[in-house]
Structures are given as C-alpha cells and as structure tokens.
Symmetry: C2
Subunit: 354 residues, 2 copies
Amino acid sequence: MLSLMRMENEKESTEERTEIASLGEFGLIHRLTKDLGSDQPSTLKGVGDDAAVIHSGDQVLLVSTDMLIEGTHFDLMYSPLKHLGYKSVVVNLSDIYAMNAHPTQVTLSLGLSNRFSVEAVEELFSGVRAACEHYQVDLVGGDTTSSAKGLVISVTALGHCSPDRVSYRSGAKVGDILCVTGDLGAAYLGLQLLEREKQLFLDQPDIQPDLESQKYLVGRQLKPEARKDMIQIFEKNKVIPTSMIDVSDGLSSDLKHICFESKVGAFVEESGVPIHPDAQLMALKFKLDPITCALSGGEDYELLFTIDPKDLDKVRLMPDIYMMGEIVKAEDGIKLHTKGGNIHDIKAQGWKHF
Amino acid sequence: MLSLMRMENEKESTEERTEIASLGEFGLIHRLTKDLGSDQPSTLKGVGDDAAVIHSGDQVLLVSTDMLIEGTHFDLMYSPLKHLGYKSVVVNLSDIYAMNAHPTQVTLSLGLSNRFSVEAVEELFSGVRAACEHYQVDLVGGDTTSSAKGLVISVTALGHCSPDRVSYRSGAKVGDILCVTGDLGAAYLGLQLLEREKQLFLDQPDIQPDLESQKYLVGRQLKPEARKDMIQIFEKNKVIPTSMIDVSDGLSSDLKHICFESKVGAFVEESGVPIHPDAQLMALKFKLDPITCALSGGEDYELLFTIDPKDLDKVRLMPDIYMMGEIVKAEDGIKLHTKGGNIHDIKAQGWKHF
C-alpha cells in the first residue's frame, strides 16, 4: 500500500501537470465545483455567491468562510496582530452583509508556528474579540493547531436573514442602477505605502518612517470595517438590492461576478466611482491612475449592488452611497465611460494570489 | 504608525514570553476563551463541546470546524491526497455526530503552495466529494488561496438536530454506563507503522515495504469513518446518550473532557476497552502496551458516551457498542481497573501537536 502511494505520487509529478496559476483562483474553483450536486433539500445556494444559503425554519442561514495565510494575505512586519485578528473577522462578516443578512456567529481556527508566544496569540485574539463585540457576533468555536511555518487564520461566519430579503449576485436586471458604498482604492494604496516603507526600512533601519499623515489609507488596509450600517439602512428604508457583492477582489473583478451570475452587462461612469482625496493624491505620487486603483485594488470591503429604478428616490437620500452606472444587456459588455469621454472594456484584474 | 508597530513587535519578543507548548492546546484555548460572553440569544452553546449549538427555528444548528496542516496532521509521503480529502471531511462530521446530530453541509478552505498542481488538487477534492456523497452532506462553500509552504485544509461542518436530542459533554450523571463504539488504538498503531516504513524507505529506497497485511491499521489512520450508523441506531431505538464526545485526541483525554464538563469521575474496566486483534498484535511488535495505545492513541473517531442505566437493555442489543465502565463521583477521580486487578489513575495523555 505504501509502495502504491509512492507510485501515485511519482505519476503525479511525471504525468500531466497543470499549474494552478494558469487557471487562477476562480478558474480552479470552477473546475473543481462545476458539477457539484446537492443531497440536502435545505441547501438553497451552495458555492458561487458571497455566502451559502441554507433553509432554517422561517429564516435562511448564511455561511461564509475565508482563510488568511501569512505571506499571502498579510505581513507581520507592518500588520499589528490585534488589527489582523480584527480584520480576519471583518472580511467574513462583510460576506454575510453582502447577502443583505445579519451575521450572528463566527468560528476561528488558528495554525501557529512556535515563533508565536501565548502573549502574541492573546494579542491576535483581542482583535478577534474586539470585532465580535463591535459587530455583536458570538465567537462559538474553533480550533488551534501548530503549523510548521507562519500563521494561518481561518474564519467561518454564520448569519441569518428573512428568505425574501437575500440579495444574490444573480439578481441584477437590465435598467437597474449600479451603486457602491464608501470609496474605492484606498486599501490598495495603503498596502503600496506599507510595502514601500517596509523596503525603505529594510534598506536603512535607522530611518523611522512616518505614516501618521496617511492614517486613512493605512487604516483602510490594516483595519477595514464591514458595512453593517448599510444593511440596517436598507432594512429601515424597505429597500432590497436586486444583487449585491462585497468589494474584496476589486471593483472590476467583483462587478464581473455580478454580471456573469446575472447574465447582464454594466456601464460604469468614471465620474461616479468614489475615490477618497487621500487615495487620489497617493495614486498620483505612485504614478498610478486613481481609477485603476479603484477598479483593480481590492480589499475595500464596500458593498457593490444594484437597485431597481423604483427605489431610486429612497436610495438617493441614503448616506455614503454612490450611483456609478447602470446594468445593460450582456451583449453590451462591461464598460467604463471615462471622464475624457472614451469608452473602455473593464477587464477583471482583481487581486491574484496564485 | 509603522515605527510603533515595530516597537510593539520588539516589546513582544523582549518582554514576557510564554511558550504555547507550556500551556498545550486546551490550556491555550481555556486562557483565550475563559471569559467569552454571548451577544446573540440564538447561541445556545459556544466554545467547549464538539460543536457549537445554535437556535434555528424548531431545530438546533450544530457547527464544528477543524484545521489540518501538512507536517502536523498529515505526511504526504504516505497519505494519498484522495484519502486526505476524505479524512478532512470525516473528522468534522464526527464532531457533529458526537452531538447526536445529523451533518448536512460542509465548507472547505484550502491553502496550497505552488508545489501542488491542479491535478493534485483535483485528487484531494475527489476525496472531499467522496466523503460528501457517502455521508450525504453538501459542500456549499469555501476558499482557495496560496500558501508559502505546504498544504492547509480547513473544514467547517454544519448539522441539525431536534433540541431535545443533543448530547453535550456535560450531561453524564453518577451511575451512568460508559460506552464506546468500535475499537481503539488502531489508528495510532497504523500511524506508527507508516512512520516506521517511511524511515525504512528513506534509509533504503530500493526496499518495497509491504503494508497489505496491515490494511486494517493503515486504513484506520488514513481513511477513518465517522459513526453515522450509531446516531441512526440511537434514533431508531429512542436512546439519547446522556453525554457524548468523539475519540479524536485519545480515550483518556476525551474521557477527561466528559468528566470535567459533567463534574463527575469515571471507573474504566481494562477488560471492557475494545482493541482490535491487529492492534493488539502490532502493539506488542512495537513493544507497546495495547491498553496504553487504546487510551492515548487518538484519531479513532469512535463515539465515547454515557447512557442512563434505564437504557441498558436497549443498548445491550445494539451492534458494535462496548460497555467499559461507569460514571462515579468527581472526588473518586478517573480510574482504570486493570486486568491484573490494580487500580490506576488515568492521565490525559492525548495527542499533542504543540
């Protein structure tokens, strides 16, 4: 039996080998899950949205999970452990809000190398607890284990919602208004800034970088918040987005998900894409186009959603929501109307980690 | 801000530093979660059992999560990827069965280094699917991400149950009968065998080890099954264990959890502890005491439970259940009555990975 396994392993290395990078994350997930069935009548929506949707009495249960790995998702050289713990929870809650639902519980699994002391784990955990308290969710379970190298954090979030209030990625209709909350690109620019300062520090350890003046950008990267407030505002105003997703991979990539799942296209006005003045300025300092940072940056954890035009007057009065385009027919593609008057295809160039 | 973080990191390394190993996994979890509160009325049981229990209509929802890390939990030198995928799901389902509940959905997160090809991930995933099909649970979500080194697998399982059927760790009463399913120690001996063969192979790669004759032990380690059948038998016979846990860390460690949570002691008859003949023989070959392997081995994924004496006649007729002792008062401790007539304290010496 052991000999057989070795033979299989050898076969794997000598026979056909497709690199994961050649498919990308979404290509890999598609290849693995394309013919995935369902045995449980309670499963209303499996893989393919921000969260799974499961029948649960007169409510639906939402489930979302994310894994954060040191070196891929965070760098402990500039991520304080407490912020990292906070962010690990927030990115999962964001997926539950993106279904227009309320998160209620999370589980946390940690893989820890012996580099981490109990005090360091307590620091990380204090951030997890701070997020749980801020968003009023309960930490109900988890796992801690040792890892050969580095830190691994896996969080699963549960939420609930009335079945008629769920916003899937697939509900956008031609003529719907495309909206986004907050502003985009700042988290990406915060990351660029932290990476630059890290390099400067590695080259000249005696120079103390000063990031105080860039608190907004750095904060967006290290300690993002999820848009709980928006879900409450939608509820209060009796608005249900026809489709919704959180901006984690970048506007272009996440908009593409909505368009693909809804079988529609989108027309985005560059002038409607909200960009914070600090992000605007920092992009120019880095010789980057601010709109490119907003489209492709990622990790904004804002909500990208569509509304039925009948709800326009209600949404117009809501704070921190920006109307930036319209849903069009699939054959019209996903386009950006630039401030200069040109029309470009928006290509999904979201954050790639493979 | 960056300078501040560096100072904090330095502080952590120069000030008090407690090694995780000095607390152990359960010590660490206790320290982190001892004063964890609850904000959500739906949270019925948080950290501290095989699964969290959440109010969900007229049912309860069970949630359990586990993280498996290469080098800590598995060695790809002798774990076929398909079996590993299967086992990753099974160990989580086992936690749901240990609550006397039915698993319904799982999520899967994978951290993959570039050593893994798409074909290798498909092989792993085929095992995940095989387990989902066998246990009739749906894979409803997950995450794939790159890792700097090695393979990380995180699975979360959801299940449901009628609220009056949940078996907690805390329900054992003095006078209850202590039972276990299947047999114990075989998975541990399978692991010893695989480790020995690996060493032999590394020393002399031209010798082909033959593990065919040890299929049972190796199979218990590489492709365990969870006791779905027992939950069905309990239901059919209208028996609800007063307490239950799955044997993942080893009988001594898991029995200690029941005793601690139930505030009781236990008296175990060595002659009642089920050990497979293959495990018996292999233990002797390794110059190990078979009962020590059964008590401390772990990864058996059998169910350890207690029943009210009034259910004794029903349980006696159920297949593959072994009565091995009795619940006693806490002050009487957790004791083993050996075949030789001696009485020893049972010390928790379960599997340690920190």
